[in-house]
């Protein structure tokens, strides 16, 4: 028997390479990579040749040239004499602005609709269902165009719709009141430092009180739990202290720290306040409404995914409906909801590239403007796509990290 295994072992050193799985695996991968690189190489060579024919190159120095075009909405200061790079950054910021605001609105709307979808009220439930079916089954681009058109049919600037002298709407823009800082802000902020010190003190005092109380009632072997006392004290002191200080400080400050800058209707236009362009608003409405329909479904299915047994068990223990929702359903539903919710957020950010349809200068639109003006198709495109990629990849990386954190007990 020993003899047999020895001869076999000798045999094993001489596997022909075309049958050795290890060799085959490496060989297969090398061939595959060769194929990929060959394809990429051909495309790259073609590109260089094509660029040469068109008299173009891949250099990025054009970014320092003057942009020369105007941008309708800007977060930072910008004028046409700025560089292409600055214009590009304005585009990135505009994309982020509409995405973040859209995410906020879509989440609020979506939560509201999603919970309505589960209402015991027949009418509410079905209105929510209709909303979801209508808005998720119509292309976003069409919805953007629709809202943009509706906006365009509003009265002109001089006949702006006036809502209680605080909000003005016309066919080009919408004006909200703005918060403006005054000289009083510095002393008001001063009170906050005081509040911070005050709350630290109150935490310790409260913790001490809690501790005393517990020691009185303590039995042998009980856990003393200093840490619990401190966190409990923090919970009961920080928020109230800050609130009280903020309110008292507001009145004590020599001047009220903020004033409301209301827009005013002038002869031909509206002045003051914060202005949002029609393009921005219609894009925002369309993105929020469209995405909220999907978010509502995510919320609904997340809540329904928590098994009926959980609900029944909670009832059996004697929890009320509200307690069941708060203590049993939501803690289990949220981890289910978060991943698809994030992918909806990502979709919204990517969909914001349809801003072109509403004439809002986002990353993609400014990118294509630069492209037509400077004729630098490939570098500009690489930059635009890289930006979207960065947004997507960082978000999904954060998502993965969160998932691992949530599921750390389920291993």
């Amino acid at each position: 028997m020993h003899h047999a295994s020895n001869t076999m072992a000798q045999n094993s050193t001489k596997i022909p390479f075309w049958r050795d799985t290890r060799v085959l695996q490496v060989l297969f991968q090398i061939l595959f990579l060769l194929g990929v690189f060959l394809l990429a190489g051909i495309l790259y060579a073609n590109m260089l040749k094509g660029l040469d024919n068109l008299g173009l190159n891949l250099k990025l120095d054009f970014l320092r040239n003057e942009a020369g075009f105007d941008v309708s909405d800007t977060v930072i200061e910008y004028d046409p004499s700025n560089t292409y790079l600055k214009a590009f950054i304005v585009g990135v910021l505009n994309t982020l602005r509409v995405s973040l605001l859209g995410i906020l609105c879509a989440t609020v709307l979506g939560l509201f609709i999603g919970i309505s979808r589960l209402s015991t009220n027949w009418l509410v439930r079905n209105i929510a269902a209709t909303y979801i079916e209508i808005f998720r089954n119509i292309p976003l681009l069409l919805q953007i165009l629709f809202w943009y058109t509706v906006f365009g049919s509003l009265p002109a600037a001089r006949e702006s719709i006036n809502l209680f002298d605080t909000v003005f709407i016309n066919n080009r823009s919408i004006y909200f009141p703005s918060l403006q800082q005054t000289a009083g802000i510095s002393s008001w902020v001063g009170y906050f430092y005081a509040a911070a010190i005050l709350s630290v003190i109150s935490i310790f005092v409260l913790a001490l009180i809690f501790h005393r109380k517990q020691v009185e009632r303590m039995e042998e072997g009980d856990d003393i739990g200093y840490f619990t006392h401190v966190t409990r004290a923090a919970k009961w002191s920080i928020v109230p202290v800050f609130f009280i200080v903020a309110i008292i400080g507001w009145f004590l400050a020599p001047e009220s720290p903020f004033v409301l800058g209301r827009p005013e209707l002038q002869r031909f236009n509206v002045e003051g306040g914060i202005r949002f362009s029609a393009g921005f608003i219609s894009l925002l409405i369309a993105l929020s409404v469209y995405t909220s329909a999907f978010i509502a479904e995510v919320v609904r299915s997340g809540i329904q995914a928590v098994s009926k047994g959980q609900r029944e068990a909670a009832r059996a223990v004697g929890l009320s409906t509200g307690q069941t929702l708060r203590l049993i359903i939501l803690p289990q539903a949220v981890p289910i909801i978060i991943p698809p919710l994030t992918s909806q957020y990502l979709n919204l950010a990517k969909n914001s590239s349809l801003a072109t349809a509403a004439g809002y200068d986002d990353l993609f639109r400014i990118g294509s403007t630069i492209l037509t003006q400077a004729g630098k198709a490939i570098p500009v495109f690489a930059m635009v796509m890289a930006n979207y990629l960065i947004i997507s990849l960082t978000t999904s990386a954060a998502m993965n990290w969160y998932n691992r954190w949530v599921n750390r007990f389920n291993r």
């Binding site: 028997m1 076999m8 072992a9 022909p16 049958r19 050795d20 799985t21 060799v23």
Partner: protein, 253 residues
Amino acid sequence: MTENENTSNDPIIICEDVHKWFDDFHVLKGITTTFKKGEKAVICGPSGSGKSTFIRTINRLEEHQRGTIIVDGIELTNDLRNINLIRQEVGMVFQQFNLFPHLSNLKNITLGPIRVRKLSKRKAEEEALALLERMGIADQAYKYPSEISGGQQQRVAIARALAMEPKIMLFDEPTSALDPEMISEVLDVMRELAHSGMTMLVVTHEMGFAREVADRVMFFDEGVVVEEAVPADFFDNPQHERTKLFISQTLQH
């Protein structure tokens, strides 16, 4: 009782110093043993002792990292042809049956013969029906796995393995996922198979079956073979403390 006239002296599986790690976890710590043609070996031991991993290395569902395994004169290496040959020589029955849910019971059995042994469809079906007859479930041929009981599913799985006409059969806890009343129908089939002279390696906790059928019982713990003996000695006169403890605990149930 344990002496089986089918058992010859030719070794069919030779394991020498077989080691296996899952990452840093040392599952098999140098298993050296030989199984003879026609031998029935029952392998038992606590969960996590490496017994399942061991029989899975024999048809290379798991790759051993040190030592040699020779099955019917073919060494298990990275040689693609050898792996394919071994898989045809060694049949396997799983704890969870692993029938293909999208295929009827008959097609589950004929898949291997048609695709690997290159039998004609008609010939494969004839053989499959004969096997189902032998398993006592010929009437279930055209149903789907989800439509029959667990015991019947496991018998289909045994028929599927036998359809490849293997020389060796591996059983990985074949009755552990079954309801108590179905265990005996599967054990009956295995008993019949044992009497027909098949070489069998069975991981199981069915001590009655071991006592009755096995030529040898091997006790695994923490990746080593702690004790191996003919059933009579193993159950009535265990040598090691761990074996004694295991037997007393298992027989209590």
